[in-house]
């Protein structure tokens, strides 16, 4: 094939100038900040060998911790998905005193050091804490149980769904809902078939972000978890424990296992997202 007949070059010329510069900056930054550390992790793993990685990960204690981490992260992200959409709806659709304050408060979990969040939550939910003492009377233990981990993960993941969905809700034309109503649709029908499909892609993005954040969370969970092996031991703690023993290879092995599981989950979410976009067309 000669250059003249090639109608679709590998890099299509964009009418926008500055592609080379922008791309260069992007690739450099992405490499330095994201790709190089991940490559280092994978290299460490390659050094260790696939069989050794499997032998390290394939132990009941590790599986239990991975299962705990991913299960609770998923539940926390699910909670945030529902609650975040409601929160975004309230903030975008209604005008009430204190709205801006509430709006700012949504970002707090981003700003607060996770250790502070963990200690604050533990203080509240410990059997002698404000919520904990009430719950203890009802026979419910939160701090130092899996419920405590869930509370911490919900806290750190809260802003993601709200923040991704909010601008979408603000963009929705009220006329669309009104049209739906004039055509005889009930409120529930409008919500299910008109509003929610428009929110789905953004909500899924937020869900994926919240999930990814929760899986890797260490700082806040470590204070509230109790860290009892097989019961409340999260996978990131196992990595820290391996490092504590100067066992870098085993730490990398667990890290790679988490990376792979996260990658598979994010891929699945992305596929659902593509599917939902196709179904309703581009919003």
């Amino acid at each position: 094939m000669t250059g003249r007949t090639m109608r679709h070059p590998f890099v299509q010329q964009s009418p926008m100038p500055g592609f080379g510069l922008a791309m260069g900056i992007t690739v450099t930054m992405l490499s330095v900040v994201v790709l190089v550390p991940i490559a280092a992790l994978l290299l460490k793993g390659a050094d260790f060998g696939l069989a050794n990685i499997w032998a390290t990960v394939n132990r009941e204690r590790i599986w239990k911790a991975l299962w705990l981490s991913f299960r609770l992260s998923f539940l926390a992200a699910l909670f945030n998905l529902v609650f975040g959409v409601v929160l975004a709806w309230v903030l975008a659709r209604y005008r009430f005193p204190g709205r801006r304050l509430l709006d700012a408060a949504v970002d707090l979990p981003f700003a607060l050091p996770t250790a502070v969040a963990g200690i604050a939550l533990t203080a509240l939910y410990a059997p002698n804490g404000v919520f904990g003492s009430v719950l203890a009377d009802a026979g419910i233990k939160v701090a130092y149980t899996q419920w405590g981990i869930l509370v911490a993960l919900i806290f750190v993941g809260l802003p993601f769904v709200a923040r991704t969905v909010q601008p979408v809700i603000e963009e929705i034309d009220r006329e669309v809902e009104e049209a739906s109503a004039t055509l005889g649709a009930s409120r529930l029908y409008t919500l299910r078939h008109v509003v929610l499909p428009m929110l789905t892609p953004a909500a899924l993005t937020g869900f994926a972000l919240a999930l990814a954040r929760a899986v890797g969370e260490y700082g806040s969970v470590i204070f509230i978890a109790g860290n009892i092996p097989l019961v409340t031991e999260i996978a990131p703690l196992l990595i820290v424990i391996q490092l504590e023993e100067y066992n870098y290879n085993a730490a990398a092995a667990i890290g790679i296992a988490m990376l792979l599981i996260s990658f598979a989950m994010l891929l699945a979410i992305n596929l659902i997202q593509i599917w939902s976009r196709r179904r309703i067309g581009h919003v």
Partner: protein, 355 residues
Amino acid sequence: MTRETLGSIAPRPAPMTAAEIVAPLRRVKPLLTWGAIIAALALTIGESRAETLLNVSYDPTRELYRDVNAAFTEYWTAQGNPAPQIETSHGGSGAQARSVVEGLNAQVVTLALASDIDRIAEAGKLPADWQGKLPHNSSPYTSTIVFLVREGNPRGIKDWGDLVAEGVQVITPNPKTSGGARWNYLAAWAWAERNGQDPREFVGKLFRNVPVLDSGARGSTTTFSQRGIGDVLLAWENEAYLALKELGEDQFDIVVPSVSVLAEPPVAIVEANIANDEQRKLAEGYLNFLYSPQGQALAFKNYYRAWDPSAAAPEDVARFPKVDLVDIAQLGGWARVQPEHFGDGGIFDQIYVPK
């Protein structure tokens, strides 16, 4: 940009008004501000001056080294030396050792376990025979493990044997992540050995009574004292006294068991991080100061069992009850104990193997 600005000003024959002079400056100002900010950031990142010393230490020594650093600075300048800038960093002993291995520029390490400093030696940052360089296995002060119980000791806890009773909740940090917790574990082991019990079974029972495994000693103290979890806290003796002092003597009691361990938190100079002779002199002076009567008095004051009570306040020395102390050599030395008990899949891990 400067040339442009000058070009637009220069041809003007009339004298400039103040506003005209300021106008180009205003364009330069953000540049200057940003330049200053970046320069300041760069300075804070860059190497500091020569008379500095970074002491990388473990968790519960905060109060001790706050006192020592102040006293040493005074002593050092009184000797006719320029005022040194001493900084101390605290954290889990193992994590701190790892930071030094990975390049943290510490001139002095004062950690909880000799095995952590051995790690730094393995990385080639200090000689393998470091522990022989200073008196008492390079441990200027020692401590032991005691029990902190709630006021009035409602559970009647007197010795290690009481900790495995049904329903007693024991708080200790995780031996996998905390140096102090390894001493807790070993003290329990030593007691079981001396009292004709199967030590493996005994520590297993003990750790099954632990509802929360914090990652470090301070975390456990908080869990026990602030969160109200547990009946007994296994703690460094100095940490237990500090908890009494800080949180009120009317809330907790210290119980001293019949057998405990002689915990020797060692100190060493990190040879590879010594920049010049000046700094070496400072680092040596600093560690020797810990052994001086004044340094020893500070250790006593901060509830450590030090060696030389000559300058210490008598009540600081008198408060330590006599305990049968087992040292690490009697347990086989760190080189054996560490992998056997706390290594991956070691005796401690086997406690949690599901049945």
